[in-house]
Symmetry: C3
Subunit: 163 residues, 3 copies
Protein backbone atom coordinates (compact mmCIF):
# COMPACT_ATOMS: atom_id res chain seq x y z
CA UNK A 1 0.00 0.00 0.00
CA UNK A 2 1.48 3.35 -1.01
CA UNK A 3 2.84 5.69 1.63
CA UNK A 4 1.32 9.18 1.79
CA UNK A 5 3.69 12.18 1.89
CA UNK A 6 2.74 12.59 5.57
CA UNK A 7 3.68 8.98 6.30
CA UNK A 8 6.97 9.36 4.45
CA UNK A 9 7.73 12.38 6.62
CA UNK A 10 6.81 10.43 9.75
CA UNK A 11 8.94 7.53 8.51
CA UNK A 12 11.93 9.81 8.24
CA UNK A 13 11.30 11.45 11.60
CA UNK A 14 11.11 8.04 13.28
CA UNK A 15 14.34 6.97 11.58
CA UNK A 16 15.90 10.18 12.91
CA UNK A 17 14.95 9.14 16.46
CA UNK A 18 16.46 5.68 16.02
CA UNK A 19 19.67 7.19 14.64
CA UNK A 20 19.83 9.81 17.39
CA UNK A 21 19.73 6.97 19.91
CA UNK A 22 22.78 5.30 18.36
CA UNK A 23 24.72 8.54 18.16
CA UNK A 24 23.96 9.50 21.75
CA UNK A 25 25.00 6.04 22.94
CA UNK A 26 28.24 6.13 20.97
CA UNK A 27 28.95 9.70 22.10
CA UNK A 28 28.47 8.60 25.72
CA UNK A 29 25.60 11.03 26.26
CA UNK A 30 23.32 8.71 28.25
CA UNK A 31 20.98 11.45 29.42
CA UNK A 32 20.28 12.40 25.82
CA UNK A 33 19.50 8.75 25.14
CA UNK A 34 16.77 8.75 27.76
CA UNK A 35 15.15 11.85 26.23
CA UNK A 36 14.30 9.82 23.13
CA UNK A 37 11.95 7.63 25.14
CA UNK A 38 8.68 8.57 26.81
CA UNK A 39 8.77 9.03 30.58
CA UNK A 40 6.84 5.81 31.07
CA UNK A 41 8.61 3.79 28.39
CA UNK A 42 8.72 0.03 28.89
CA UNK A 43 12.27 -1.11 28.15
CA UNK A 44 12.98 -4.78 27.57
CA UNK A 45 16.67 -5.27 26.90
CA UNK A 46 16.42 -9.01 27.45
CA UNK A 47 18.34 -11.47 29.57
CA UNK A 48 20.27 -10.15 32.52
CA UNK A 49 19.95 -6.56 31.28
CA UNK A 50 16.32 -6.99 32.13
CA UNK A 51 13.17 -4.93 31.86
CA UNK A 52 12.39 -1.62 33.49
CA UNK A 53 10.00 1.26 33.03
CA UNK A 54 11.04 4.16 35.20
CA UNK A 55 13.08 7.08 34.02
CA UNK A 56 15.39 6.75 37.04
CA UNK A 57 16.20 3.19 36.12
CA UNK A 58 16.76 4.22 32.50
CA UNK A 59 19.26 6.92 33.53
CA UNK A 60 21.14 4.44 35.73
CA UNK A 61 21.09 1.79 33.00
CA UNK A 62 22.44 3.96 30.21
CA UNK A 63 24.90 5.88 32.40
CA UNK A 64 26.42 2.65 33.63
CA UNK A 65 26.58 1.12 30.18
CA UNK A 66 27.92 3.86 28.00
CA UNK A 67 30.32 5.26 30.56
CA UNK A 68 31.52 2.57 32.93
CA UNK A 69 31.41 -0.62 30.90
CA UNK A 70 32.07 0.42 27.32
CA UNK A 71 35.15 2.37 26.43
CA UNK A 72 33.98 2.86 22.85
CA UNK A 73 31.06 1.65 20.76
CA UNK A 74 29.54 1.89 17.30
CA UNK A 75 25.85 1.11 16.78
CA UNK A 76 25.03 0.57 13.11
CA UNK A 77 21.28 0.76 12.53
CA UNK A 78 19.65 -0.57 9.39
CA UNK A 79 16.72 -2.64 8.10
CA UNK A 80 14.18 -0.12 9.40
CA UNK A 81 10.60 -1.31 8.81
CA UNK A 82 7.78 0.89 10.06
CA UNK A 83 4.10 0.08 10.38
CA UNK A 84 1.70 2.88 11.23
CA UNK A 85 -0.68 1.58 13.86
CA UNK A 86 -2.59 4.86 14.23
CA UNK A 87 -2.41 8.52 13.33
CA UNK A 88 0.10 9.15 16.10
CA UNK A 89 1.60 5.75 16.75
CA UNK A 90 3.84 3.40 14.89
CA UNK A 91 5.81 0.19 15.27
CA UNK A 92 9.40 0.23 14.07
CA UNK A 93 11.55 -2.82 13.61
CA UNK A 94 15.23 -2.36 12.99
CA UNK A 95 18.55 -4.19 13.07
CA UNK A 96 21.51 -3.04 15.11
CA UNK A 97 25.08 -4.19 14.53
CA UNK A 98 26.74 -3.00 17.72
CA UNK A 99 30.49 -3.14 18.21
CA UNK A 100 31.93 -2.52 21.66
CA UNK A 101 35.34 -1.94 23.18
CA UNK A 102 35.42 -2.42 26.95
CA UNK A 103 37.23 -0.68 29.79
CA UNK A 104 38.14 -4.12 31.03
CA UNK A 105 41.01 -5.80 29.24
CA UNK A 106 38.83 -8.21 27.33
CA UNK A 107 38.38 -8.64 23.58
CA UNK A 108 36.15 -6.27 21.65
CA UNK A 109 32.74 -7.74 20.93
CA UNK A 110 29.80 -7.46 18.54
CA UNK A 111 26.18 -7.96 19.35
CA UNK A 112 23.76 -8.57 16.48
CA UNK A 113 20.29 -7.57 17.56
CA UNK A 114 16.90 -6.23 16.59
CA UNK A 115 14.87 -3.45 18.10
CA UNK A 116 11.09 -3.66 18.08
CA UNK A 117 9.82 -0.25 19.11
CA UNK A 118 6.41 1.23 19.73
CA UNK A 119 6.55 4.95 19.04
CA UNK A 120 4.13 7.75 19.79
CA UNK A 121 3.93 11.26 18.42
CA UNK A 122 4.40 13.78 21.22
CA UNK A 123 4.63 17.57 21.25
CA UNK A 124 8.40 17.15 21.13
CA UNK A 125 8.25 14.75 18.18
CA UNK A 126 8.20 10.96 17.93
CA UNK A 127 9.35 9.15 21.06
CA UNK A 128 9.87 5.48 21.89
CA UNK A 129 7.16 4.24 24.27
CA UNK A 130 8.25 0.62 24.28
CA UNK A 131 11.46 -1.08 23.16
CA UNK A 132 12.24 -4.77 22.96
CA UNK A 133 15.71 -6.03 22.07
CA UNK A 134 16.07 -9.47 20.50
CA UNK A 135 19.50 -10.92 19.91
CA UNK A 136 20.27 -12.73 16.67
CA UNK A 137 23.87 -13.55 17.51
CA UNK A 138 27.16 -12.21 18.79
CA UNK A 139 30.94 -12.35 18.54
CA UNK A 140 32.92 -12.56 21.76
CA UNK A 141 30.22 -11.07 23.94
CA UNK A 142 31.55 -11.43 27.49
CA UNK A 143 28.25 -12.11 29.21
CA UNK A 144 25.41 -14.55 28.84
CA UNK A 145 23.41 -14.04 25.65
CA UNK A 146 19.82 -15.20 25.30
CA UNK A 147 19.07 -15.60 21.63
CA UNK A 148 15.72 -14.86 20.08
CA UNK A 149 13.61 -17.81 19.07
CA UNK A 150 14.22 -18.88 15.55
CA UNK A 151 11.77 -20.89 13.52
CA UNK A 152 13.00 -24.47 13.54
CA UNK A 153 11.68 -26.50 10.66
CA UNK A 154 13.24 -29.81 11.56
CA UNK A 155 13.25 -31.02 15.16
CA UNK A 156 16.70 -30.76 16.57
CA UNK A 157 18.24 -30.37 20.00
CA UNK A 158 18.94 -26.69 20.39
CA UNK A 159 19.62 -24.41 23.28
CA UNK A 160 18.57 -20.82 23.29
CA UNK A 161 21.25 -19.78 25.75
CA UNK A 162 24.87 -19.72 24.74
CA UNK A 163 27.87 -18.31 26.50
CA UNK B 1 16.62 14.61 -10.66
CA UNK B 2 14.01 15.08 -7.91
CA UNK B 3 11.92 12.14 -6.79
CA UNK B 4 8.16 12.51 -7.02
CA UNK B 5 6.06 11.64 -3.97
CA UNK B 6 4.96 8.49 -5.82
CA UNK B 7 8.57 7.49 -6.42
CA UNK B 8 9.44 8.12 -2.79
CA UNK B 9 6.58 5.83 -1.79
CA UNK B 10 7.78 3.19 -4.24
CA UNK B 11 11.31 3.62 -2.93
CA UNK B 12 10.12 2.89 0.59
CA UNK B 13 8.00 -0.06 -0.50
CA UNK B 14 10.96 -1.59 -2.33
CA UNK B 15 13.17 -1.08 0.73
CA UNK B 16 10.48 -2.85 2.74
CA UNK B 17 10.74 -5.88 0.44
CA UNK B 18 14.54 -5.98 0.79
CA UNK B 19 14.26 -5.75 4.57
CA UNK B 20 11.53 -8.38 4.73
CA UNK B 21 13.89 -10.74 2.89
CA UNK B 22 16.58 -10.32 5.54
CA UNK B 23 14.17 -10.75 8.41
CA UNK B 24 12.60 -13.87 6.91
CA UNK B 25 16.06 -15.36 6.31
CA UNK B 26 17.21 -14.61 9.84
CA UNK B 27 13.93 -15.89 11.30
CA UNK B 28 14.41 -19.13 9.38
CA UNK B 29 11.15 -18.67 7.46
CA UNK B 30 12.41 -19.78 4.03
CA UNK B 31 8.95 -20.10 2.48
CA UNK B 32 8.26 -16.47 3.31
CA UNK B 33 11.54 -15.58 1.63
CA UNK B 34 10.39 -17.12 -1.63
CA UNK B 35 7.13 -15.14 -1.55
CA UNK B 36 9.14 -11.95 -2.00
CA UNK B 37 10.24 -13.06 -5.47
CA UNK B 38 8.15 -13.54 -8.58
CA UNK B 39 7.31 -17.11 -9.54
CA UNK B 40 9.69 -16.94 -12.47
CA UNK B 41 12.46 -15.02 -10.72
CA UNK B 42 15.98 -15.55 -12.03
CA UNK B 43 18.24 -16.06 -9.02
CA UNK B 44 21.99 -15.76 -9.42
CA UNK B 45 23.68 -16.36 -6.08
CA UNK B 46 27.07 -16.82 -7.71
CA UNK B 47 29.73 -19.47 -7.48
CA UNK B 48 28.76 -22.89 -6.28
CA UNK B 49 25.41 -21.61 -4.99
CA UNK B 50 24.60 -21.17 -8.63
CA UNK B 51 21.71 -19.87 -10.66
CA UNK B 52 18.15 -21.10 -10.76
CA UNK B 53 14.75 -19.86 -11.80
CA UNK B 54 12.09 -22.24 -10.58
CA UNK B 55 10.11 -21.79 -7.42
CA UNK B 56 10.78 -25.41 -6.45
CA UNK B 57 14.50 -24.85 -6.61
CA UNK B 58 14.12 -21.62 -4.62
CA UNK B 59 12.23 -23.41 -1.84
CA UNK B 60 14.91 -26.11 -1.68
CA UNK B 61 17.69 -23.54 -1.75
CA UNK B 62 16.40 -21.36 1.06
CA UNK B 63 15.08 -24.24 3.19
CA UNK B 64 18.48 -25.92 3.08
CA UNK B 65 20.36 -22.74 3.82
CA UNK B 66 18.44 -21.13 6.60
CA UNK B 67 17.57 -24.33 8.39
CA UNK B 68 20.21 -26.99 7.81
CA UNK B 69 23.42 -25.05 7.30
CA UNK B 70 23.05 -21.89 9.36
CA UNK B 71 22.25 -22.08 13.03
CA UNK B 72 21.84 -18.32 13.27
CA UNK B 73 22.33 -15.36 10.94
CA UNK B 74 22.03 -11.60 10.76
CA UNK B 75 21.67 -9.86 7.39
CA UNK B 76 22.35 -6.15 7.63
CA UNK B 77 21.08 -4.35 4.54
CA UNK B 78 22.19 -0.85 3.65
CA UNK B 79 23.38 1.35 0.76
CA UNK B 80 20.06 0.98 -1.08
CA UNK B 81 20.14 2.73 -4.46
CA UNK B 82 17.04 2.52 -6.64
CA UNK B 83 16.62 3.44 -10.29
CA UNK B 84 13.13 3.45 -11.74
CA UNK B 85 13.33 1.78 -15.13
CA UNK B 86 9.61 2.09 -15.86
CA UNK B 87 6.30 2.88 -14.20
CA UNK B 88 6.17 -0.57 -12.65
CA UNK B 89 9.77 -1.68 -12.63
CA UNK B 90 12.90 -0.70 -10.82
CA UNK B 91 16.49 -1.75 -10.27
CA UNK B 92 17.70 -1.81 -6.68
CA UNK B 93 21.31 -2.11 -5.64
CA UNK B 94 22.08 -2.76 -2.01
CA UNK B 95 24.83 -3.95 0.30
CA UNK B 96 24.43 -6.86 2.68
CA UNK B 97 26.68 -7.52 5.66
CA UNK B 98 25.72 -11.08 6.51
CA UNK B 99 26.96 -12.80 9.67
CA UNK B 100 26.44 -16.53 10.06
CA UNK B 101 26.77 -19.10 12.80
CA UNK B 102 26.81 -22.68 11.53
CA UNK B 103 25.41 -25.95 12.81
CA UNK B 104 28.80 -27.44 12.09
CA UNK B 105 31.48 -26.74 14.65
CA UNK B 106 33.30 -24.20 12.51
CA UNK B 107 33.99 -20.52 13.16
CA UNK B 108 31.29 -17.95 12.57
CA UNK B 109 31.70 -16.12 9.28
CA UNK B 110 30.78 -12.91 7.54
CA UNK B 111 30.04 -12.45 3.87
CA UNK B 112 30.19 -8.93 2.42
CA UNK B 113 28.03 -8.80 -0.69
CA UNK B 114 25.83 -6.73 -2.96
CA UNK B 115 22.41 -7.46 -4.31
CA UNK B 116 21.44 -6.17 -7.72
CA UNK B 117 17.72 -6.70 -8.06
CA UNK B 118 15.19 -6.14 -10.79
CA UNK B 119 11.81 -5.52 -9.23
CA UNK B 120 8.33 -5.39 -10.69
CA UNK B 121 5.11 -4.02 -9.27
CA UNK B 122 2.55 -6.80 -8.91
CA UNK B 123 -0.96 -6.89 -7.44
CA UNK B 124 0.62 -8.05 -4.19
CA UNK B 125 3.19 -5.24 -4.20
CA UNK B 126 6.75 -4.99 -5.41
CA UNK B 127 8.46 -8.33 -5.99
CA UNK B 128 11.99 -9.31 -7.00
CA UNK B 129 12.05 -10.64 -10.56
CA UNK B 130 15.82 -11.05 -10.81
CA UNK B 131 18.53 -11.07 -8.16
CA UNK B 132 22.27 -11.17 -8.60
CA UNK B 133 24.65 -11.51 -5.68
CA UNK B 134 28.19 -10.15 -5.99
CA UNK B 135 30.68 -10.77 -3.24
CA UNK B 136 33.00 -7.97 -2.14
CA UNK B 137 34.79 -9.96 0.55
CA UNK B 138 34.41 -12.27 3.51
CA UNK B 139 35.74 -13.30 6.90
CA UNK B 140 36.20 -17.00 7.57
CA UNK B 141 33.70 -18.15 4.97
CA UNK B 142 34.05 -21.94 4.93
CA UNK B 143 33.46 -22.46 1.23
CA UNK B 144 34.91 -21.16 -1.99
CA UNK B 145 34.18 -17.50 -2.60
CA UNK B 146 34.19 -15.96 -6.05
CA UNK B 147 34.76 -12.26 -5.70
CA UNK B 148 33.20 -9.68 -7.94
CA UNK B 149 35.44 -8.03 -10.48
CA UNK B 150 37.04 -4.90 -9.18
CA UNK B 151 38.40 -2.20 -11.40
CA UNK B 152 42.15 -2.62 -11.53
CA UNK B 153 43.99 0.53 -12.47
CA UNK B 154 47.49 -0.86 -12.46
CA UNK B 155 48.21 -4.23 -14.01
CA UNK B 156 48.88 -6.75 -11.29
CA UNK B 157 48.56 -10.48 -10.91
CA UNK B 158 45.27 -11.07 -9.16
CA UNK B 159 43.01 -14.03 -8.72
CA UNK B 160 39.31 -13.67 -8.46
CA UNK B 161 38.88 -16.88 -6.49
CA UNK B 162 40.08 -17.11 -2.93
CA UNK B 163 39.47 -19.80 -0.38
CA UNK C 1 9.22 19.16 12.29
CA UNK C 2 7.66 17.44 9.28
CA UNK C 3 9.66 17.04 6.09
CA UNK C 4 8.16 18.54 2.95
CA UNK C 5 7.98 16.36 -0.19
CA UNK C 6 10.81 18.48 -1.62
CA UNK C 7 12.96 17.81 1.44
CA UNK C 8 12.22 14.09 1.29
CA UNK C 9 13.36 14.11 -2.32
CA UNK C 10 16.52 16.01 -1.37
CA UNK C 11 17.06 13.57 1.50
CA UNK C 12 16.97 10.67 -0.91
CA UNK C 13 19.22 12.39 -3.43
CA UNK C 14 21.79 13.11 -0.73
CA UNK C 15 21.64 9.50 0.45
CA UNK C 16 22.24 8.48 -3.18
CA UNK C 17 25.45 10.54 -3.22
CA UNK C 18 26.68 8.95 0.01
CA UNK C 19 25.95 5.48 -1.35
CA UNK C 20 27.56 6.24 -4.71
CA UNK C 21 30.73 7.16 -2.81
CA UNK C 22 30.86 3.77 -1.10
CA UNK C 23 30.18 1.87 -4.30
CA UNK C 24 32.82 3.79 -6.26
CA UNK C 25 35.37 3.20 -3.49
CA UNK C 26 34.60 -0.52 -3.32
CA UNK C 27 34.62 -0.80 -7.12
CA UNK C 28 38.05 0.83 -7.17
CA UNK C 29 36.83 3.74 -9.32
CA UNK C 30 38.67 6.53 -7.49
CA UNK C 31 38.08 9.14 -10.18
CA UNK C 32 34.33 8.63 -9.85
CA UNK C 33 34.70 9.11 -6.10
CA UNK C 34 36.19 12.55 -6.62
CA UNK C 35 33.29 13.58 -8.88
CA UNK C 36 30.94 13.36 -5.89
CA UNK C 37 32.75 16.24 -4.20
CA UNK C 38 32.89 19.87 -5.22
CA UNK C 39 36.11 21.05 -6.86
CA UNK C 40 37.03 23.01 -3.75
CA UNK C 41 35.89 20.44 -1.22
CA UNK C 42 37.63 20.49 2.16
CA UNK C 43 38.47 16.89 3.06
CA UNK C 44 39.38 16.03 6.63
CA UNK C 45 40.11 12.31 6.88
CA UNK C 46 41.77 12.71 10.26
CA UNK C 47 45.08 11.60 11.69
CA UNK C 48 47.86 10.75 9.30
CA UNK C 49 45.45 10.66 6.33
CA UNK C 50 45.20 14.37 6.89
CA UNK C 51 43.32 17.26 5.40
CA UNK C 52 43.40 18.53 1.84
CA UNK C 53 41.30 20.65 -0.44
CA UNK C 54 42.58 20.41 -3.98
CA UNK C 55 41.18 18.10 -6.59
CA UNK C 56 44.68 16.92 -7.48
CA UNK C 57 45.32 15.82 -3.94
CA UNK C 58 41.92 14.10 -3.84
CA UNK C 59 42.71 12.10 -6.98
CA UNK C 60 46.07 11.04 -5.56
CA UNK C 61 44.52 10.19 -2.21
CA UNK C 62 41.74 7.98 -3.53
CA UNK C 63 43.81 6.41 -6.32
CA UNK C 64 46.46 5.37 -3.82
CA UNK C 65 43.95 4.05 -1.30
CA UNK C 66 41.51 2.08 -3.38
CA UNK C 67 44.06 0.67 -5.76
CA UNK C 68 47.44 0.32 -4.14
CA UNK C 69 46.68 -0.25 -0.45
CA UNK C 70 43.35 -2.05 -0.39
CA UNK C 71 42.85 -5.24 -2.30
CA UNK C 72 39.14 -5.32 -1.51
CA UNK C 73 36.80 -3.26 0.64
CA UNK C 74 33.16 -2.97 1.68
CA UNK C 75 31.81 0.32 3.00
CA UNK C 76 28.47 -0.10 4.75
CA UNK C 77 26.75 3.22 5.18
CA UNK C 78 23.88 3.73 7.62
CA UNK C 79 22.51 6.05 10.31
CA UNK C 80 22.04 8.89 7.81
CA UNK C 81 20.80 12.06 9.53
CA UNK C 82 20.30 15.14 7.39
CA UNK C 83 19.71 18.73 8.48
CA UNK C 84 18.79 21.28 5.83
CA UNK C 85 20.82 24.38 6.52
CA UNK C 86 19.46 26.31 3.53
CA UNK C 87 17.48 25.87 0.35
CA UNK C 88 20.51 24.45 -1.41
CA UNK C 89 22.69 23.21 1.42
CA UNK C 90 22.53 20.47 3.97
CA UNK C 91 24.57 18.73 6.63
CA UNK C 92 24.59 14.95 6.56
CA UNK C 93 25.86 12.75 9.34
CA UNK C 94 26.31 9.07 8.67
CA UNK C 95 28.02 5.96 10.01
CA UNK C 96 30.37 3.85 7.93
CA UNK C 97 31.35 0.28 8.77
CA UNK C 98 34.30 -0.22 6.47
CA UNK C 99 35.94 -3.60 6.02
CA UNK C 100 39.26 -3.82 4.17
CA UNK C 101 41.48 -6.52 2.77
CA UNK C 102 45.03 -5.37 2.00
CA UNK C 103 47.51 -6.13 -0.73
CA UNK C 104 50.06 -6.60 2.03
CA UNK C 105 49.93 -9.91 3.84
CA UNK C 106 48.36 -8.48 6.97
CA UNK C 107 45.04 -9.29 8.61
CA UNK C 108 41.84 -7.81 7.24
CA UNK C 109 40.61 -4.84 9.24
CA UNK C 110 37.49 -2.87 10.05
CA UNK C 111 37.25 0.83 10.69
CA UNK C 112 34.14 2.16 12.44
CA UNK C 113 33.70 5.80 11.55
CA UNK C 114 31.33 8.68 10.99
CA UNK C 115 31.11 11.10 8.13
CA UNK C 116 29.99 14.66 8.78
CA UNK C 117 29.37 16.21 5.39
CA UNK C 118 28.36 19.65 4.19
CA UNK C 119 26.55 19.28 0.89
CA UNK C 120 25.51 21.83 -1.70
CA UNK C 121 23.06 21.59 -4.56
CA UNK C 122 24.84 22.08 -7.86
CA UNK C 123 23.67 21.88 -11.46
CA UNK C 124 24.87 18.29 -11.47
CA UNK C 125 23.01 17.45 -8.26
CA UNK C 126 24.04 17.40 -4.62
CA UNK C 127 27.80 17.34 -4.04
CA UNK C 128 29.93 17.11 -0.91
CA UNK C 129 31.61 20.45 -0.17
CA UNK C 130 33.19 19.42 3.11
CA UNK C 131 33.76 16.01 4.70
CA UNK C 132 35.06 15.19 8.13
CA UNK C 133 35.77 11.63 9.21
CA UNK C 134 35.63 10.75 12.92
CA UNK C 135 36.67 7.31 14.05
CA UNK C 136 34.63 5.51 16.70
CA UNK C 137 36.75 2.37 16.79
CA UNK C 138 38.48 -0.32 14.76
CA UNK C 139 39.47 -3.94 14.53
CA UNK C 140 43.02 -4.74 13.48
CA UNK C 141 43.63 -1.47 11.71
CA UNK C 142 47.32 -1.55 10.78
CA UNK C 143 48.05 2.11 11.26
CA UNK C 144 47.65 4.65 14.00
CA UNK C 145 44.04 5.50 14.75
CA UNK C 146 42.99 8.75 16.36
CA UNK C 147 39.63 8.26 17.98
CA UNK C 148 36.98 10.91 18.15
CA UNK C 149 36.40 12.55 21.49
CA UNK C 150 33.82 10.81 23.54
CA UNK C 151 31.93 12.45 26.35
CA UNK C 152 33.50 11.28 29.58
CA UNK C 153 31.21 11.58 32.57
CA UNK C 154 33.58 10.38 35.22
CA UNK C 155 37.19 11.54 35.24
CA UNK C 156 39.41 8.72 34.16
CA UNK C 157 42.83 8.42 32.55
CA UNK C 158 42.14 7.95 28.86
CA UNK C 159 44.16 8.33 25.73
CA UNK C 160 42.63 9.33 22.47
CA UNK C 161 45.29 7.60 20.40
CA UNK C 162 45.46 3.85 20.29
CA UNK C 163 47.50 1.62 18.06
Amino acid sequence: MPYSPEQLSDHQEIADVLHAYCRAIDDNRPDDVVELFTDTCAYDYGGELGTFSTKEHAYRFFRAGTDKIYRRSAHYLSNIEITFTGQDQAEARSYVNAWHEFHDAIPNAWIFARYTDQLVRTDAGWRIAQRRVDTMGHEAWPREVIHMDRNVLAPRPTTSVRK
